[in-house]
């Protein structure tokens, strides 16, 4: 299992003081998966389109994403999201080199 780890620090302008004893989770994560299609327009330009991946076949190219939001009024710090790549999927060779990749479950 390979993980794509992305680290962020979320800040809100005009943030109120942290709410002590808050039990609900102020951070929400929403997973998404898109099917990448390459189309050639009338001018011969290469266009990339993202469609709903229903269904896909072996060899298709996917974009796996995680949408995140601070739904509370508490400052969120040291935010790190881990998006394990499913076992049936391999990380594309032309992935953005700036994207941190972990092969040990996010430990390194």
């Amino acid at each position: 299992m390979r993980n794509a780890i992305l680290g962020f620090r979320l800040r809100c302008a005009g943030m109120a003081a942290p709410v002590l004893g808050q039990t609900s989770n102020p951070l929400s994560l929403t997973a998404c998966a898109k099917l990448e299609r390459v189309a050639i327009d009338e001018q011969g330009n290469r266009q990339i389109e993202l469609d709903d991946p229903q269904p896909v076949v072996p060899g298709d190219r996917l974009v796996l994403g995680t949408r995140y939001a601070n739904d509370g009024d508490t400052l969120i710090e040291n935010f790190a999201v881990s998006n394990p790549v499913p076992a049936a999927v391999t990380v594309a060779v032309d992935i953005n080199p700036a994207l941190p990749i972990s092969v040990d479950g996010g430990k390194a």
Binding site: P26, L27, L29, P55, V85
Partner: protein
């Protein structure tokens, strides 16, 4: 309420058919996050984005004979292996192409038999000839089936390449 949103993305490609997810399976992508809020370390899971895998039809045929096969007028057998390179179980309809373009070396096709006893050698009376259309048993994804193409070469046929199987 203060909301900050964003999208983290990763690019992936479904594995090649030889290691593919089976047709009909569902791949799930679920993320998790750790963070600190009000001095407390916390974690959260995302929902799961399901991706359903459809069937990819693909097949390959290759010869089992190491090289050119020497034949004489009369019956001959060529050996092939059929591989289901898709990701779902399938039957395949076989056809022997005996007419080699560019010469008059056209063998007569007598039938296609399945290697039912798995020894990769044609055993007359044991390896039954498939009735038309010559259809293999169901092959699982990545499954293989050896088959035999039964031919007859006429006396006086010019020398040429052996027939191909499709």
């Amino acid at each position: 309420m203060c909301a900050v949103g964003g999208l983290c993305v990763a690019f992936g490609a479904l594995l090649a058919p030889a290691h593919a997810a089976p047709a009909g399976s569902v791949i799930g992508s679920t993320a998790s996050a750790t963070y600190g809020a009000a001095g407390v370390a916390r974690s959260v899971l995302s929902d799961t984005a399901p991706v359903r895998v459809d069937e990819l039809l693909d097949v390959a045929a290759s010869g089992l004979d190491a090289g050119p096969v020497t034949v004489r007028p009369g019956p001959a057998v060529l050996r092939f292996v059929i591989c289901n390179t898709g990701n779902g179980p399938e039957h395949f309809v076989l056809d022997a192409v005996t007419a080699v373009a560019g010469n008059g070396f056209d063998a007569g096709a007598d039938g296609i038999a399945i290697d039912s006893n798995g020894n990769e050698a044609y055993d007359a009376g044991i390896n039954a000839i498939l009735p038309a259309p010559a259809t293999t048993p169901s092959l699982a994804a990545d499954g293989t089936q050896a088959v035999f193409v039964l031919l007859t070469f006429r006396a006086g046929s010019p020398m040429a390449q052996p027939p191909k199987s499709t």
